[in-house]
C-alpha cells in the first residue's frame, strides 16, 4: 500500500492556489486547527483566498492580517476567552475581507448539504434575522433574496429557510492521529470535520502524530475520516499551536495573547511574520521556535490520558522521516 505522507511545504505547493476556496477543518477557536498550514500559506504568499472557516481560529486571524483572504464565510469570528480576533477584525472593518455571516449550526448544515450534494439545506435557524436578510456578498440587496432564500415545505405549505451547501475545493483538516494511508482519529469535539471531510473536493490531513494502520484496525469506530477520502497526510506536531489539541497539548495562553495583540496592527503583523512565520525552515526549527520548555509544559496537559490507548502504535520520527524520504524519491 502506498502511503500519502507529504512534507508541509510540498502540500501547500501542490494542493493550494491563489483564489481558491480554502476550508479549514478545526475545532472551535481555542481547539485543534492546523494553524501551521496557514503559516505555510503565508510563506508561499497565497493570495485572494476564499476562506471557509466554520469558526475563526488563529489561522484565520493570521491569514486575514496577512491580506491573504478576500472572501470569507464563517459562523463565529472571535477567539472565545481570548477576545476579538484583531487581524480578522481589522480586515473586516476596512472592507479588505468581505465576510458573509452565518451561524455555527448553519455552517455545519452547509457542510452536511455539500457532503450529500444537495441543492439546498432546510433551515429552522438564521431565518427572520439579519443573518438571512444581509448579504456581504450582495450588499446592495435587502432583504437578500439569495443568501438564505425561502423554501416551501411541501407537507405543510409553511416557509422555511434554504441554506446553500458548501463544497470547498480543498479542506485542510487537523487530526490527532493519522496513519500513512490517511485514516484518521480525532480526539475531542469533531466540530464539523466529519461532514467537511465529505463535502470538500480534496482533503489534506495535518496530524499531531502518526500511527501504524493496526491502530485503526483496533479502533475502526474512531476512524471518522477513512483514508479513501484523503489525498495527503502532513505530519506536523504542534500544528495547532498556540491553540490546543485535546489529548496532546494545551493552549499556549501567553502566545495566544501575544499573537492576537500583534495582529492588531500592520507593524505588529510584520513583526509576527518575521518572528514566527519566516523564522523557520524545518519542522525542527519550528519546534525550536516554540521552545523545548514550552513544549514540555504544554504537553503536560490534563487531557493526556486521552492519548494513552494509542501510544503503542505511534510511529517514531525515524520511521516518519524514512517514509517522507521515500515520497520525495518517487
Amino acid at each position: 500500500m502506498t502511503h500519502k505522507l507529504i512534507a508541509l511545504p510540498q502540500a501547500v505547493a501542490r494542493f493550494t492556489r491563489d483564489g481558491m476556496q480554502y476550508a479549514s477543518g478545526a475545532a472551535l477557536p481555542v481547539g485543534a486547527d492546523a494553524v501551521a498550514f496557514g503559516r505555510e500559506l503565508i510563506r508561499q504568499n497565497r493570495r485572494q483566498l476564499h476562506a471557509i472557516f466554520h469558526s475563526n481560529t488563529q489561522q484565520l486571524n493570521l491569514l486575514c492580517a496577512a491580506g491573504a483572504v478576500d472572501k470569507l464565510e464563517c459562523g463565529f469570528t472571535g477567539l472565545e476567552g481570548f477576545g476579538f480576533a484583531n487581524g480578522l477584525r481589522r480586515a473586516v472593518e476596512s472592507g479588505r475581507v468581505v465576510l458573509e455571516d452565518y451561524s455555527n449550526l448553519s455552517m455545519a448544515l452547509r457542510f452536511l448539504g455539500g457532503a450529500l450534494n444537495w441543492p439546498f439545506v432546510p433551515a429552522t435557524v438564521n431565518i427572520g434575522t439579519d443573518v438571512q436578510f444581509r448579504s456581504a456578498f450582495h450588499p446592495e440587496e435587502y432583504a437578500s433574496p439569495r443568501k438564505i432564500p425561502p423554501v416551501i415545505d411541501p407537507f405543510s405549505g409553511q416557509e422555511y429557510g434554504a441554506l446553500s451547501p458548501l463544497r470547498p475545493e480543498l479542506a485542510v483538516i487537523h487530526v490527532t492521529l493519522a496513519d500513512p494511508e490517511g485514516n484518521a482519529i480525532m480526539l475531542g469535539s469533531e466540530w464539523s470535520r466529519f461532514e467537511l471531510s465529505r463535502a470538500a473536493r480534496r482533503v489534506v490531513l495535518v496530524a499531531d502524530a502518526l500511527v501504524a494502520t493496526d491502530c485503526m484496525r483496533q479502533f475502526p469506530n474512531l476512524v471518522r475520516i477513512p483514508g479513501l477520502l484523503v489525498e495527503a497526510v502532513v505530519y506536523w506536531p504542534f500544528s495547532a499551536w498556540p491553540q490546543a489539541s485535546p489529548g496532546v497539548h494545551d493552549v499556549d495562553e501567553p502566545h495566544m495573547r501575544l499573537m492576537n495583540q500583534a495582529l492588531g496592527t500592520p507593524e505588529g503583523y510584520a513583526g509576527y511574520r518575521r518572528d514566527f512565520i519566516d523564522s523557520y525552515q524545518t519542522l525542527d526549527e519550528y519546534l525550536a521556535l516554540i521552545g523545548p520548555d514550552r513544549i514540555t509544559a504544554l504537553s503536560a496537559t490534563a487531557t493526556g490520558f486521552l492519548l494513552d490507548p494509542y501510544r503503542r502504535w505511534l510511529l517514531s520520527r525515524a520511521d516518519i522521516d524514512e517514509l517522507l524520504a521515500e515520497s520525495k524519491a518517487s
Partner: protein, 262 residues
C-alpha cells in the same frame, strides 16, 4: 450588602437561578458557562450540560475554560460528538430546554446583536461595521431553537438600544406574536439578566420590562441605563441577594476568581 460579592457574581447567580434541575442546557463561553456550572453545583445537580462543540457530561477542571471545547472541558467528558449534533440535533430541534447566551446589544423585544456596531442606522446597502464583533457563533441557533433562552449582558445605555444595529439572534422580532411567522423550534428569550437586574417579556406584547433589580441597583438607575422607555413589571421586586451557599457554590466553579475581578 449582607455578603461580600461582586456585581459579576450577582449576575452569574441570577442567571444560574434560571436553570432548573434535570434540564438539558447549553452554555456559551465565559460568564454563561460559569452561571450554568454554578447552577449544577448549587440547585441543579442533574442538569444535563452540553456545549455547542458536542461535549457532554463534562465539568470544568483547572479554571474557567477558554472556549466551549477547551481542554479544561475535555478531561472528564463522557462523550464528544460535534456541532451538527449539539446545535442541530439537540438545540435547533427544540430539544434543549434552556440556553444561556451573551449579547453586545439588545432591543426591547430581546433581539440580540453580536455581529457589529455601525453606530448609526444601517441603510439597505450593507457595509462593514465600525466595530466588528464575533458574529452569531451558536447564539442564533440557540435563540432560534432552545425552548427558552436567557440573555446575559452588561447594563449600559448603548447596549439597550431602541433598535439593534444588526439582528444577529432572534428574540421576539417586532414583538407580539411576530416570532410565529417563522418556524423556530424554540420559544424565545425568557429573561435578560444584566449587571443591574432582570428583565422579562410582557406575556402579550413581548416587550421586556424590569422584573427585578439587584440590591446595589435601583429601578431609576436601570431605566437611565436603558435606551428605550423601560416599563416596570407589576411584579417588580428586589432580586434576592446571593446566599452563602450560592456564593460558595459559585466560587467553587470560578476557581480562578474571574468574576471577583470587578
Amino acid at each position: 450588602m449582607s455578603l461580600n460579592y461582586t456585581r459579576q457574581e450577582m449576575m452569574a447567580i441570577a442567571a444560574g437561578r434560571e436553570i432548573r434541575d434535570g434540564e438539558l442546557a447549553i452554555f456559551g463561553v465565559g460568564l454563561s458557562l460559569l452561571a450554568g456550572f454554578f447552577a449544577q453545583a448549587h440547585h441543579a445537580p442533574n442538569v444535563r450540560a452540553m456545549t455547542e462543540g458536542g461535549i457532554y457530561g463534562a465539568t470544568p477542571v483547572g479554571g474557567l475554560p477558554w472556549g466551549v471545547e477547551c481542554n479544561r472541558l475535555c478531561t472528564n467528558a463522557v462523550s464528544f460528538t460535534g456541532g451538527l449534533d449539539a446545535l442541530g440535533f439537540l438545540v435547533a430541534s427544540g430539544r434543549c430546554e434552556v440556553g444561556l447566551i451573551g449579547a453586545a446589544q439588545v432591543d426591547r423585544f430581546g433581539n440580540v446583536n453580536t455581529t457589529g456596531i455601525w453606530g448609526e442606522l444601517l441603510d439597505e446597502h450593507y457595509r462593514p461595521p465600525k466595530t466588528r464583533l464575533t458574529g452569531s457563533g451558536g447564539a442564533n441557533d440557540i435563540a432560534s431553537g432552545c425552548q427558552r433562552v436567557v440573555i446575559m449582558l452588561a447594563h449600559e445605555k448603548k447596549r439597550f438600544a431602541e433598535r439593534v444595529d444588526y439582528l444577529t439572534s432572534p428574540g421576539y422580532l417586532s414583538g407580539g406574536n411576530a416570532r410565529a411567522r417563522y418556524p423556530f423550534r424554540g420559544g424565545g428569550p425568557s429573561a435578560m439578566v444584566t449587571t443591574l437586574g432582570i428583565l422579562r417579556p410582557d406575556p402579550e406584547t413581548k416587550e421586556f420590562q424590569l422584573d427585578a433589580y439587584f440590591a446595589f441597583s435601583s429601578p431609576a438607575e436601570i431605566r437611565a441605563q436603558t435606551g428605550w422607555d423601560l416599563q416596570f413589571a407589576p411584579t417588580l421586586h428586589i432580586a434576592p441577594e446571593p446566599t452563602e451557599e450560592e456564593l460558595t457554590a459559585l466560587r467553587r466553579v470560578d476557581v480562578t476568581g474571574a468574576l471577583r475581578r470587578n
